[in-house]
């Protein structure tokens, strides 16, 4: 524990890197996931197929394999991003598939009668989606999205394997240079757990806030 206390500023900056990585990846994932979800429910068949390919590919590829592809493979095609950005892109693409599935499931949980009623009063596709379906879908999407967020947060630790200097890498460094041992890793694990529990709590609060109380 003394090792961690002695290098607290390093640990803190590594923690910030982790949070930065997670936030940016999650935002990217939300954008990508929503777009792909829309593709998947659109009436245009090729878009639906492309969306399906995307989801199947990125749900079944190990995150480490994807990160290696983006960090070490893409530059072979002259597409080089900084290590941090590459990690963000990889994680955003990966989590995007899960966000897409969460969005689709969320939309599916809205009772069909709602959509039918929206059509019945003459709302167009965009209007009915925007004013009737999505607000209700959002309520049931919070849970899975919070889970994807926590998954992203914990997944950032894999960035350590490709050279990004975040919390897990910091733990490894402390262990190597100062023989930190078990207490260092325990402290780092506690940091992750704290973040996960906080996120879970925040998600629960958000869910209660938007719940329909009858």
């Amino acid at each position: 524990m003394n090792v961690v206390a002695g290098h607290f500023s390093d640990v803190l900056s590594a923690l910030l890197t982790t949070v930065e990585l997670a936030v940016l990846s999650f935002l990217g994932a939300m954008i990508v996931g929503t777009v792909v979800a829309i593709m998947r429910i659109s009436p245009v068949a090729p878009l639906r197929a492309a969306g399906l390919v995307y989801v199947e590919f990125f749900r079944n590829i190990p995150l480490l394999s994807l990160l290696f592809l983006v960090v070490f493979g893409l530059p072979d095609l002259n597409v080089t991003f900084s290590l941090f950005n590459s990690a963000v892109i990889g994680m955003a693409l990966f989590s995007g598939a899960f966000v897409c599935e969460s969005v689709r499931t969320g939309i599916n949980t809205v009772p069909i009668g709602q959509a039918e009623a929206a059509r019945a009063i003459g709302l167009t596709f965009t209007l009915s989606l925007r004013t009737v379906i999505l607000p209700q879908a959002f309520r049931s999407m919070i849970q899975p999205l919070v889970n994807v967020w926590i998954g992203t947060l914990i997944g950032t630790s894999l960035a350590a394997a490709v050279g990004v200097f975040e919390l897990t890498a910091e733990g490894q460094l402390l262990q190597l240079n100062y023989a930190g041992g078990l207490p260092v890793f325990a402290a780092i694990a506690l940091l992750y757990i704290a973040m996960a529990l906080l996120s879970g709590g925040a998600g629960g609060w958000l869910e209660r806030k938007v719940a329909i109380r009858r």
Binding site: I41, P43, V44, P46, L47, E56, F57, R59, N60, I61, P62, L64, S65, L66, F68, L69, F72, G73, L74, P75, D76, L77, N78, V79, F98, E101, S102, R104, T105, N108, I112, A115, R119, L129, Q143, P144, V146, N147, I150, G151, I154, G155, S157, A160, A161, T168, Q172, Q175, L176, L182, V184, F185, I188, A189, Y192, I193, A196, L197, G200, G203
Partner: protein, 292 residues
């Protein structure tokens, strides 16, 4: 898909025309993207035979196969240990004794929120100086088991909670004790519900096995490192490895879907029910989808 039919009416002539135009446009766009990607490959010399040839060399497919074999070994061993431990944890969490519940919950919350890579580093870096030096295979399997047992416990619990409450109450009403109800009434039904999720969890275990790379265990990811060190063909190697993983996982997911359909015949309406539970510290969110 039901959503489609509901969100828009049956398209009229103008709607059909628009859809057809959009279809053609998107096909062209996708073809263009594929063409651009290939052109990128070509421009950077990545389509050169020399970069792809190593995969046809006599010893290489065997080498990759050996790596795959090790990956599957890790996955299999992890599954063999994680499933029973997860079941036990779930039962503990559902027990009547507060101590068991509390212990199980702490374990589950702890290991679900800890990154797997961190645990592997603990076994690989922190424990050997303290005397605990496991063979590399177990340095990978034990952390995977620890983490996934927690996730599996939540899946089992979700399965139990997905059952109508009446089942448990009926069991108690006819005089069965808590554990007897569990054993004869609840568990058989719960397990049938969650078997597809368990197969999906196998996919997750396979993906986790790639972290054996961090402990230098010679599974597929590490084999890729050996290949690139020798032949310097980065994108080719990583693409091939990624495809191998995707194909295997697709097969497993397909198996999960088949099992899903077979075991739930008659029990629920047709539709695209996702069989993957993204289970993390909160209650299972998509779990509701299983019994819709």
């Amino acid at each position: 898909m039901t959503t489609n039919r509901v969100l828009f009416d049956e398209p009229g002539p103008r709607g059909l025309l628009r859809i057809r135009v959009a279809t053609v446009a998107s096909v062209l766009l996708l073809a263009l993207l594929v063409y651009l990607a290939l052109q990128r490959f070509g421009d950077n010399g990545q389509l050169a035979a020399a970069k792809w040839n190593p995969f046809l060399k006599p010893g290489i497919p065997t080498f990759l196969l050996h790596g795959l074999e090790n990956t599957l070994k890790v996955t299999g061993l992890s599954a063999v240990f994680a499933f029973p431990i997860g079941a036990v944890l779930a039962l503990l969490r559902l027990s009547e004794s507060r101590v068991s519940r509390w212990t199980a919950t702490t374990y589950i919350e702890f290991f679900r929120s800890t990154p797997l890579l961190l645990l592997i580093y603990v076994f690989f870096l922190a424990l050997p100086p303290l005397g605990l030096n496991l063979p590399t295979l177990w340095m990978v399997v034990v952390p995977i088991v620890l983490c996934n047992a927690a996730v599996l416990a939540e899946i089992f619990r979700a399965g139990v909670r997905a059952l109508p409450k009446g089942q448990g109450e009926a069991g108690l009403a006819v005089g069965l004790g808590h554990w007897q109800t569990m054993r004869f009434v609840i568990l058989p039904q719960a397990i049938r519900i969650i078997i597809p999720s368990l197969v999906t969890q196998l996919v997750s275990l396979l993906k986790d096995s790639t972290l054996g790379f961090a402990a230098s265990y010679p599974e597929l990811m590490k084999s890729a490192t050996n290949l690139t060190a020798r032949y310097h063909n980065f994108i080719q190697t990583y693409l091939v490895i990624a495809l191998i993983f995707v194909v295997i996982n697709l097969l497993l997911s397909y198996l999960a879907r088949v099992l899903d359909r077979r075991l739930s015949r008659g029990r629920r309406d047709k539709g695209d029910t996702p069989t993957e539970l993204v289970v993390l510290p909160m209650e299972t969110a998509l779990g509701g989808g299983l019994v819709r």
